[in-house]
Structures are given as structure tokens and as C-alpha cells.
Amino acid sequence: MAEAPAEPPLIETLVLRLEGFEGPLDLLLELARGQKLDLARISILALVEQYLAVIEGARRVRLELAADWLVMAAWLAWLKSRLLLPAGTEEAEAGEEAAETLAARLAELQAMRAASAWLAARPQLGQEVFARAAPEDFSEIDRSRLRLDVPALLRAYLAALRRSGGQRRYRPKPMTLWSVQDALRRLGAMLGGLPDWRTLETFLPENLAEPLQRRAALSATLLAGLEMARGGAIDLRQETPFGPILLRPAVAGEEDA
């Protein structure tokens, strides 16, 4: 069936215009079409021989050939050696498989060529058919509305503050909460004049308007009281759980109250 292998004239012309092909696959497809059979029934072996003949011819004309032509030639030479092996061996099967892959690739390229030709044959906009070249636009742009959002507002605010930051650096407000140090000082100063049991609240500073300040002062004073009791300067007492905490200056000789 493949009794018409490489017609010499075809090969001759192919050698001369090798550069005109879009790579080895393109040449292979051209050769396959030369077999005048549908792609599913081409003889891969004949195809391989034709390709190798073309490459050989081209090398005789000029020595240098693009690497991909030679890589394909080497691969096809390998494929040829496999296809010539008796069927049934493992090598021959590998050859069959590779031949199928090559046939599938050629078929795919062929299909895409056909798709390209199909597209090219369609009346193309701007080539065969023309749309209205002077369209009319009825849309009106209304830019009266503002686009405002909070993140942009905040960014702007921070940018403004940063810019003036050189002159007016932001400082956090000093904390005005009563500290343990403050409470120790106040307890120490007050205890001398108050010999009897007094509740913890007695020792809080005046003018504590906010609940937070009040609670902070209370805990600071408790801590200060514990500290002074540990040092033996005062006595502490609590009658019931969560009951009022009482304190007084330590009384000499009365170790256990």
C-alpha cells in the first residue's frame, strides 16, 4: 500500500524550503498528506523514512540544521528501529505506542489547521462585513454625585495628622489612676492620726468621680495595705467573705488579733 514512498521531486523541493515549515511536525503533516490517505490510515513507517530522507538531503546541501529538526530526526530513527522489530516484543509495543501518539498529534494539528481554515473562510468583521463605523452614543455622564466612604475619610485624617506630626506630636494622655505607690504614701500619712479600725474606703482619695478611678484606687489601697501588713506596720481584718476590709496601725504586743 505504501508503495509510493518518497517521490524524489517532493523531497527535493522540501529540502530547499525546510525553513518554510513551522517546525518538524508541520513537515511531517505535509508528508503525511503526501501519502494521500486519511490520517488514521497513514503508514508511520513510510512517514518516518520520508522525514529522515528529507533531513539527510538537507544536510547534504548545508551542514547546519536547526536543533529541533535533528531532535525529531533522532526520535524518528528510534521509532523506526522499534517499528521494524518483530511484533509482540516489548520494544515493538513501545514503538507502536509512540507511533500512535505521533499519529494523534498529527491528527490534532490537522484538525486545528482545518478549524483555522474554517474560521478564515467566515465573513470577518472589518474584512468582508462591516459594522456601523459612526456609532451614536446616547449615554450621558453624570458626575454630580460624590463618592465618599469612611475609610477614605480616616485615611485623609491620618494623613493630615501625620503631616503636621513634625510640629505637634501626639502624646497619650498621662494615666490618672491611683497607683500602689500613691496608696502607700497616703496610707502611711493617714494611719498615724487614726488609731482605731477603719474600713479600706476611708483611705481612698477624694474627688474620684469615675467608677474606674474608684475601683483602681480601691485595689491599689488594698495592695498597699497588704504590703504594710506584711511589714508589720498595720493590722488587717475581714469579718465575713466579701465583707468590709478593716485596718488599723499595728498595736505593739497584740500579735494576734
Binding site: A134, S139, L153, Y157, A159, R162, G165, G166, Q167
Partner: protein
């Protein structure tokens, strides 16, 4: 020569009519009689073809109109308003205006010199005008200080535009400022 063909539709071949129709349609510029004559068959009077084409489109949604330099298709005047569509493209406030607005929002009521001090730059009347025109700020009386400068505050329109229920919806200053990288270090 049929120069004097009044109302009766000119005896123009359908082929010439089709060609003229396509040419005028596909041309980006008005088509002159001369240009039209170049594509029409030799024995065809461009003027007659145009008249016939105009007659065919008379009363339709698109009409053939004569303009400087030739003829072109154009939407029938009565339909144009029906096709008009307004596309809203909201614009952004300029940076300076946004900064000023932010300062007024956070420091209100605030005077113009105070804004300038916070921004560390002087404030143009144009910026204040832009904010006033957009109803984003409004005067809030006068400060009891020399010169009685006007105090400025934000408006209900400001809240609406930013999608805020009230001013308390804005992040507190303290929460914002924690993030300010202190220039020059603390």
C-alpha cells in the same frame, strides 16, 4: 437623464441602493456624492440613489440626513430622548477637601485657623466652598474669641453620604491614633 423626477421614487436599481446603503452605514465619515459615485456603476446617478435611499428610510427609526460633506445615517430625532441613558460616575473629593472634612468631623465645632493648625497647612477658600456646596459642612455659630471666627461642623448630609447613623459611628480618635507611626519616634 431623469433629473426631473419629482415625488415618484427614482428609478434606481436595487443593487445600487444596497451598495449605497452599505457604504454610508460602514463609513466613519459622511459620504459625499463624489465618493459614492466612485463605487456605483458608471451609469448611476449618485444623487438619485441618495434620494431613493432617503425615501426608503423616511419615517423609520434611522434616517438618512444630509450634513456638511455628504450624507450619513442618524437616529430619528423623536427617538433619541427615549434612548438616552444617564450613567452616574460619582467623583471623589480632592485630597485637601477630604482632609479638611475629616478634621472638621473629628474636631467640630472648629474654626478655620484651628483646621489650618491641625493640618499644618493653610486652607484655600475653594476647598471650604467645595465642602459647603456639597452640603457636607455648615457654620455652627461663632467662637467667643477675638474676631469671633466662624465655627464649622458636619451636617446630616455628611452622615448620609458616608452611611453613618451618627458621628459616634466614626472610630474614636484614640483608636485611630494608636496606629499613627509617631514621626521622629516617641
Amino acid at each position: 437623464m431623469n433629473e426631473d423626477t419629482p415625488e415618484t421614487p427614482a428609478p434606481v436599481s436595487e443593487a445600487a441602493l444596497r451598495l449605497a446603503e452599505a457604504f454610508v452605514f460602514a463609513s466613519s465619515e459622511p459620504v459625499s456624492l463624489r465618493a459614492l459615485g466612485q463605487v456605483l456603476p458608471e451609469d448611476c446617478d449618485a444623487e438619485l440613489v441618495v434620494a431613493a435611499l432617503a425615501a426608503r428610510y423616511a419615517g423609520r427609526g434611522v434616517e438618512l440626513v444630509e450634513v456638511a460633506g455628504g450624507v450619513r445615517f442618524q437616529t430619528a430625532p423623536d427617538l433619541a430622548p427615549l434612548l438616552r441613558r444617564v450613567i452616574e460616575v460619582p467623583r471623589r473629593l480632592p485630597r485637601v477637601a477630604m482632609e479638611t472634612l475629616a478634621i472638621i468631623a473629628y474636631h467640630q465645632p472648629v474654626t478655620r485657623p484651628e483646621i489650618e493648625e491641625i493640618r499644618g497647612a493653610s486652607l484655600s477658600q475653594a476647598t471650604m466652598d467645595a465642602l459647603l456646596e456639597a452640603s457636607l459642612i455648615a457654620p455652627r455659630g461663632h467662637k467667643e474669641a477675638p474676631g469671633r471666627p466662624t465655627l464649622w461642623g458636619t451636617t446630616a448630609a455628611f452622615l448620609a453620604q458616608f452611611g453613618l447613623k451618627d458621628l459616634a459611628d466614626l472610630p474614636r480618635r484614640a483608636d485611630l491614633l494608636v496606629e499613627v507611626p509617631a514621626p521622629g519616634g516617641a
